[in-house]
C-alpha cells in the first residue's frame, strides 16, 4: 500500500514509530494528485508549497516527540471554509478572487492539531447542488466512474478522499452535501448535530441548516476528526456549549440490545433495486450484531423536499444579498450607476442554480407570499422534527439508505432542477430536524458503483453514530476496493 492510501490512524502509528515522515506522506499525496487530478478534478486550488513547508515543520516536531492528533496528516478543505491569505471561492465567479483576512474556526482547530492542508476542494457553487456540476471551475468526476458525478455539494472533498488525493477532508452539509457524496464515492461522511461544529468562517448558504463535518476512509478516522472539530466557539452564537466526548471511545463497542428504527417511508418506489438489496443486507448485519431492527414511521417524510426547497432558498436569498460588488469579490465592468452595478454584478457573478434559488427564496419571502410559503414550511419543519422526537423515544438509532440511487451520469439531471432536488430525498430531513447523521459504505452495484447506508441519532448523539457505524463496518466486512483510475 502507498502512504496516500492509508487512514489517519494507520499513518499516526507509522509516524509514532518513526517509520515514515510527514514529508514522505505529503509527497505521496502530491504524486497521486499529479497522476489523477487532471481526470478527477477534486481541487479548485492546490497548496503544494505551503503543504511541503508545513510537512518539513511537522518533521521537526515529530523528532522532538511533539506529536499532535493530526501531525503530518494531509487534509483537503472544501472551498467554502475561509483560509487566511488563501483564495476561497465557494465555487463561484463572484468570489473567484476573494482572499479571506481570517481563518475559519475549523481551519484553526485542524491547524492546531497538526494537519497539513493540501488544497481547496471543488464544490457546487455556494454549496447549491447534488452533483458538483454547478461549480464555476468545472465539474468533479466520480473516481469510480469518470462519466458519473461524485455527488455534491462537497463532491471535491469526497472524490479527493476516494481517489486517495488526501487522507481525510472537510465538507459542509445543508441538505445532504456530506452524506450523499460520501455514499456515492464509497467513503465515510458525517453531518454533526446543528451547533456541534462552529460555523465561524464557513461561507453561509442556509444558516439554520448548514453544518461542517468530515469525510474519511473509515469510521475510526471520522471519530478522530470529530474530536478535533467539535466544540463550542464563542465566535459563533449558534454553536452549543455542551460537553464533547472522546468519540474514539465508541469505536469497537457492541450494539447489543440496541433498538434500530427502520422508517417505512424510506423504502419507496424509485429506490434503485440494488440500493434496496444492499440496505436490506445492512439491516441483517445490524441484527446479527445484536441490534433489534423495528419498523417505524416518520409520517412527514414525503414533505421534506418541499419544506427544504422553501427554507433553504429563503435563507440563501438573504445570505447572498451581501454579494453586491462593493466589499469583496467580482464587480461588473463598465457600469455607470449603483443599482445597475448590483444587478449586472450579480447577473455575471452567479451561476444559474444560485440565481434560481435566490429567486425562489426572494419570492417565498416577498409581500403577500410569506405566510403561504415560508411560514407554512417552517410549520411543516416543526412536524418533521416532531416525527424524529417520537421515533427516538423507543429507538437508539434510525437506519436508512443514504441515497435512492447510485451516482448518476454527468449532465443527466442538470436541465431538470426538481429531479436533482429529489436525489436528496433521504438526507434533507436530518438538516431540517438538526440531528446528526453518518453515511457508511455498504457495498457496490453490479457496475461497481458504491452504495451507502445512513444512520441517524438524536441531537448531540454522534457517539451513538460512531458506535453503530463502527460495529457495522467491522461486522459487514465490505470488500476493500479502490477505484481504478
Amino acid at each position: 500500500m502507498e502512504l496516500n492510501q492509508l487512514t489517519i490512524h494507520e499513518l499516526q502509528e507509522k509516524i509514532k514509530n518513526n517509520s515514515v515522515t510527514a514529508t514522505q506522506i505529503t509527497e505521496s499525496v502530491f504524486s497521486r494528485i499529479d497522476a489523477v487530478e487532471e481526470r478527477v478534478h477534486s481541487y479548485i486550488r492546490l497548496m503544494k508549497e505551503d503543504a511541503l513547508a508545513a510537512a518539513a515543520k511537522a518533521d521537526v516536531d515529530i523528532k522532538k516527540g511533539n506529536i499532535k492528533p493530526l501531525t503530518g496528516i494531509p487534509i483537503a478543505l472544501k472551498d467554502i471554509v475561509c483560509t487566511k491569505g488563501i483564495t476561497t471561492t465557494c465555487g463561484s465567479r463572484i468570489l473567484h478572487n476573494f482572499v479571506p483576512p481570517y481563518n475559519s474556526t475549523v481551519v484553526e482547530k485542524l491547524r492546531s492539531a497538526g494537519a497539513i492542508f493540501i488544497g481547496k476542494a471543488n464544490m457546487d457553487e455556494f454549496a447549491m447542488g447534488s452533483s458538483t456540476e454547478t461549480s464555476y471551475f468545472g465539474p468533479t468526476r466520480n473516481p469510480w466512474d469518470l462519466e458519473r458525478i461524485p455527488g455534491g455539494s462537497s463532491g471535491g472533498s469526497a472524490a479527493a478522499v476516494a481517489a486517495d488525493e488526501c487522507i481525510a477532508s472537510i465538507g459542509s452539509d445543508t441538505g445532504g452535501s456530506i452524506r450523499q457524496p460520501a455514499a456515492l464515492c464509497g467513503i465515510v461522511g458525517m453531518k454533526p448535530t446543528y451547533g456541534r461544529v462552529s460555523r465561524f468562517g464557513l461561507i453561509a448558504f442556509a444558516s439554520s441548516l448548514d453544518q461542517i463535518g468530515p469525510f474519511t476512509k473509515d469510521v475510526e478516522d471520522c471519530a478522530i476528526m470529530m474530536n478535533i472539530i467539535a466544540g463550542y466557539d464563542p465566535k459563533e452564537s449558534t454553536s452549543v456549549n455542551a460537553e464533547v466526548p472522546d468519540y474514539r471511545q465508541f469505536i469497537g463497542r457492541d450494539i447489543k440490545s440496541w433498538k434500530i428504527g427502520i422508517p417505512k417511508e424510506y423504502f419507496i418506489e424509485g429506490v434503485d433495486p440494488e440500493v434496496n438489496a444492499a440496505i436490506k443486507k445492512a439491516i441483517r448485519v445490524i441484527e446479527q450484531s445484536g441490534g433489534q431492527c423495528v419498523e417505524i414511521s416518520l409520517p412527514h417524510t414525503q414533505y421534506c423536499v418541499a419544506t427544504y426547497y422553501i427554507i433553504a432558498p429563503a435563507e440563501a436569498s438573504s445570505n447572498l444579498a451581501r454579494y453586491d460588488g462593493v466589499k469583496y469579490g467580482f464587480r461588473a465592468a463598465d457600469v455607470r450607476e449603483l443599482l445597475e452595478m448590483y444587478k449586472i454584478t450579480r447577473m455575471q457573478g452567479f451561476g444559474s442554480e444560485v440565481k434560481r434559488r435566490i429567486m425562489i427564496g426572494t419570492y417565498a419571502l416577498s409581500a403577500g407570499y410569506y405566510d403561504a410559503y415560508y411560514k407554512k414550511a417552517s410549520q411543516v419543519r416543526a412536524l418533521i422534527k416532531h416525527d424524529f422526537d417520537e421515533a427516538f423515544k423507543p429507538c437508539d438509532v434510525i437506519l436508512t439508505p443514504t441515497t435512492p440511487t447510485p451516482a448518476f451520469k454527468i449532465g443527466e439531471k442538470t436541465d431538470d432542477p426538481l429531479q436533482m432536488y429529489l436525489s436528496d430525498v433521504f438526507t434533507i430531513s436530518t438538516n431540517l430536524a438538526g440531528i446528526p447523521g453518518i453515511s457508511v459504505p455498504c457495498g457496490f452495484t453490479s457496475r461497481g458503483l458504491p452504495i451507502g447506508v445512513q444512520f441517524l441519532a438524536g441531537h448531540f448523539e454522534e457517539g451513538k453514530l460512531i458506535q453503530i457505524a463502527s460495529a457495522y463496518e467491522k461486522n459487514a466486512k465490505i470488500e476493500k476496493r479502490r477505484p481504478t483510475l
Binding site: P101, K327, L338, T362, S378, Q379, A382, L418
Partner: protein, 95 residues
C-alpha cells in the same frame, strides 16, 4: 400558472438580478414546476403549529462587553474591487 413571467421579472428586480428575456422564460417554467411541487405542503393542516425557526432551541448568546482584536480597516478593504482611503468606492448613487 403559479407565477407569470412579469412576476419573475419583478422578483428578479427585488433580488437585484438582471435577467435576459431567455432567462426569464426559463425561470418562469422552472419556478412554476418547483412551486407546484411545493404546493404539496397545503395537504397538511398546520393550524396552531408553532413555526420552527431553528434546529435546536437557542437563546440569546450574550458575551462580555470587552474589546477584542478585529481585522481592522486596511484588511477590510484589501478585497474591495474599488477602494480609496478608508472607504469603499461605488458608482454615483444620485445625479
Amino acid at each position: 400558472m403559479k407565477i407569470s413571467s412579469r412576476e419573475v421579472e419583478y422578483v428578479a428586480h427585488l433580488a437585484r438580478l438582471e435577467v435576459t428575456e431567455k432567462e426569464t422564460e426559463k425561470f418562469t417554467a422552472q419556478l412554476n414546476d418547483i412551486l407546484l411541487y411545493i404546493d404539496k405542503l397545503n395537504e397538511l393542516d398546520t393550524k396552531g403549529v408553532e413555526p420552527m425557526n431553528h434546529a435546536i432551541s437557542v437563546t440569546n448568546a450574550f458575551r462580555e462587553d470587552k474589546m477584542l482584536d478585529s481585522i481592522g480597516t486596511e484588511n477590510s478593504l484589501t478585497n474591495a474591487p474599488d477602494a480609496r482611503g478608508e472607504f469603499f468606492r461605488v458608482p454615483k448613487v444620485i445625479d
